[in-house]
Subunit: 328 residues, 2 copies
C-alpha cells in the first residue's frame, strides 16, 4: 500500500521533506501546496503538481498525510488545526512552551474530522524528546542535560541581520566541550547558560558601517546574546557565501542517574546528532512519522499524537518479523 503525501509550504523544510520522500518507496508525493504563485516554484521531483493553498480542499480524498512545513510562530498555530479537519496531518511545531495549547487545538480539530495528527516531529522536539523520555523512565534518579550545536541558529542569524549596518550574518551555537565532559563524567554539574554554550557570529558589514558599534550591539542584545560569551568575526560576503551557506546542526541529550539500594552506582545515557543539513534530517524524521500515522489511521486511530505515543515499529518499512530478526 502506498501512502499519498502532500507538502504544505515549500521552504527549506519542504525541500528537505521532498528529498526524504525520494528514499521512501512506500510513500508518494502527490502535490506541493504554496501561498506563492504556483508557477514560480520548480520542484526537484518530476511530474508533481504545485498547487495554490486556496485549492487544498480539492485534494481532500487524494492525500493520506499532509505534511505542514510552516513556521511555529504564526503559521502552524492556524494551519495545523485547520488542515486537521480535512487531512491526517503532521507538523514540526517547536515552540516548547506552547505545545500543550497547540496539542489541545489540534486534537479537537483532528477528532472532529476523524483524522490523526502528529505535532512536534523533528529532532528537538522529536528525537531529543524521545531520548529524554526513555532516559527518565529508565533512570528516575538523575539529571537531564541538553546541548545544541555546533550548528546554525537561523533565529540568531536573523537577529543580527536586523542590526543597522549589517548586510548578512550567520550565527553558530557551540556547546562548551568542558561542560559536556563534566556531564559525561557523572559529576552532575549545575550549569549556567553561559557555561553550556558559546555563540560564534560571522558578519558582513554594509559599506561605511561602524564595526565596533555593530559588535557591541550584538554582544549586548538581550535574550539572544547577552547571557553568552559571544565572538564576532567580520568577513566578506564572498567568504560567507563560500564557507557558511550550509545549515549544519546537531546536539547532545544526556541523562546522568543513579541506581542501587543506596544509589551507589552511576550511569550516563548520551544521545547525539551531528547533522550536515538540519532541514534534510528534520524532513527525514517527519517522513518516517508520516508513514507511522498513515498506518495508525488505517487501524482506526484518531486525534492528536506526539512522538511519545507512537510505537517505534510503525516508523519502519520493515515488518515486525524482519525487525526482530535484524535489529533486535
Amino acid at each position: 500500500m502506498t501512502t499519498r503525501v502532500g507538502i504544505y509550504g515549500y521552504g527549506n523544510l519542504g525541500r528537505g521533506i521532498e528529498s526524504a520522500l525520494k528514499y521512501a518507496d512506500d510513500l508518494e508525493l502527490v502535490a506541493v501546496f504554496t501561498r506563492r504563485d504556483p508557477s514560480s516554484l520548480s520542484l526537484s521531483t518530476a511530474g508533481v503538481p504545485v498547487v495554490s493553498v486556496n485549492d487544498v480542499e480539492s485534494y481532500k480524498d487524494k492525500i493520506d498525510v499532509m505534511i505542514l512545513c510552516g513556521g511555529s510562530a504564526t503559521d502552524l498555530p492556524v494551519q495545523t488545526p485547520k488542515l486537521a479537519k480535512l487531512f491526517n496531518v503532521i507538523d514540526s511545531f517547536d515552540t516548547h512552551a506552547k505545545i500543550p495549547e497547540h496539542f489541545a487545538k489540534v486534537d479537537s480539530a483532528a477528532k472532529s474530522g476523524s483524522h490523526i495528527a502528529l505535532i512536534s516531529a523533528g529532532w528537538d522536539p522529536g528525537m531529543f524528546s524521545l531520548n529524554r523520555l526513555y532516559a527518565n523512565a529508565v533512570l528516575p534518579n538523575g539529571k537531564d542535560y541538553t546541548f545544541w550545536g555546533r550548528g546554525v541558529s537561523q533565529g540568531h542569524s536573523d537577529a543580527i541581520r536586523r542590526i543597522e549596518g549589517v548586510a548578512d550574518a550567520r550565527q553558530y551555537t557551540c556547546p562548551i566541550e568542558s561542560a559536556l565532559e563534566s556531564v559525561r563524567s557523572g559529576a552532575n554539574p549545575e550549569l549556567t547558560t553561559r557555561q553550556k554554550h558559546t555563540r560564534l557570529c560571522y558578519v558582513v558589514l554594509k559599506k561605511g558601517a561602524d564595526a565596533a558599534k555593530v559588535e557591541n550591539e550584538i554582544k549586548t542584545m538581550p535574550n539572544y546574546f547577552s547571557d553568552y560569551d559571544t565572538t564576532v568575526n567580520f568577513i566578506s560576503q564572498e567568504e560567507l557565501d563560500k564557507n557558511h551557506r550550509g545549515l549544519p546542526h546537531g546536539g547532545f541529550v544526556l541523562r546522568s542517574g543513579k541506581t542501587g539500594f543506596n544509589l551507589e552506582n552511576n550511569h550516563v545515557i548520551e544521545y547525539s546528532l551531528k547533522l550536515d543539513s538540519n532541514p534534510e534530517f528534520t524532513g527525514s524524521v517527519i517522513v518516517a512519522y508520516a508513514r507511522a500515522i498513515a498506518r495508525l489511521h488505517n487501524e482506526g486511530v484518531n486525534g492528536c499524537k506526539t512522538v511519545f505515543d507512537i510505537a517505534p515499529a510503525y516508523l519502519s518499512p520493515l515488518s515486525g518479523e524482519q525487525l526482530r530478526a535484524t535489529m533486535l
Copy 2:
C-alpha cells in the same frame, strides 16, 4: 493503581530488578521465586516472601507482571513460554539469533493464557535495538555500527576460568577509540572484528600454574579470543577482589547516513551508555517495561511484544499531559 510484580530467579539481575523497584512507586514487589531453598535467600526489601518456584501457580491471581531473571541459554527458552500461560511476563532473552523462535513460542503461550509477554528487554537487546530501529527509519541510506564496552563480559570471564591453572579471572571488552572516531567522522569504514574491540584480561593463577601456557591458551581460544588483540595481566586474588569486583558495561550504537537529492549530506546519530552496574541498569530498563506491559494488558493487549511494539509514553509514570509539558 499499583502493579504487583514478581521476580523469578534471584541472581545479579534479580537483585538489580529488586533495587530498581525501590524507585518505582507505582510497582510493588510481591514475591521472589527461587529454585534454591527459599530459606537460604535474604532479600534487601523488607516483608517480601521468598517462594519456591514449585509454588508459583498459587500466585496466579496475586501478580500482574512476572519478571524472569534466568539465563538465555537454558532457562528462558523453557520458563518464558511456561509462565506466559499463567502471568504477564517479561524477560531479557539475549541470544539474538534465536529471538524469532523464542518470540513464536512465547506468543502462542501468552495468547493461550490471554496474557501479554515482552521478550528481550534490557540494553542490548533493548535500548540499543530501539536506537538501531529509530536511526534506520530516519536514515534509510546508511550504515550501522555497534561497539560494546568498556565492560565486563561474564561469558569471556567464565571461559578463562575454565582453563587449567586459572583460579579466577575478569575480562573487559574495550572498544577501539580510533575505530569509533572513524565512524563518527562519517567515513563509513568497513571494520573487522579485530579493528573494533580489544580484550583485556586480569587472571589469577593457581599455585604452580604455567603463566605462559595459560596466556597462550587464552589468546588462541577460538570464538572468544583468537579474532581479537588480547592482553593478559596476571594479578593476585587480592587485587582482583579490590579492583575488579564491579560489573561495569556500556557501549555505542551509531548510524552514519546520507540525505539529499544526490545523497550529498551526511549525518551521524550516536547513542551511548556508560554503566557502573550492568545488572542494575538492565533491571531499571526491565522495570520501566513492566510498567508498560501492565498498562497495555489493562487496555486488552495480549500476545508477545518487543520494545519495538511499545509506545514510549507507556514507560513513564507521568501522564501524557505531563510528558508533553516537560519532555517534548
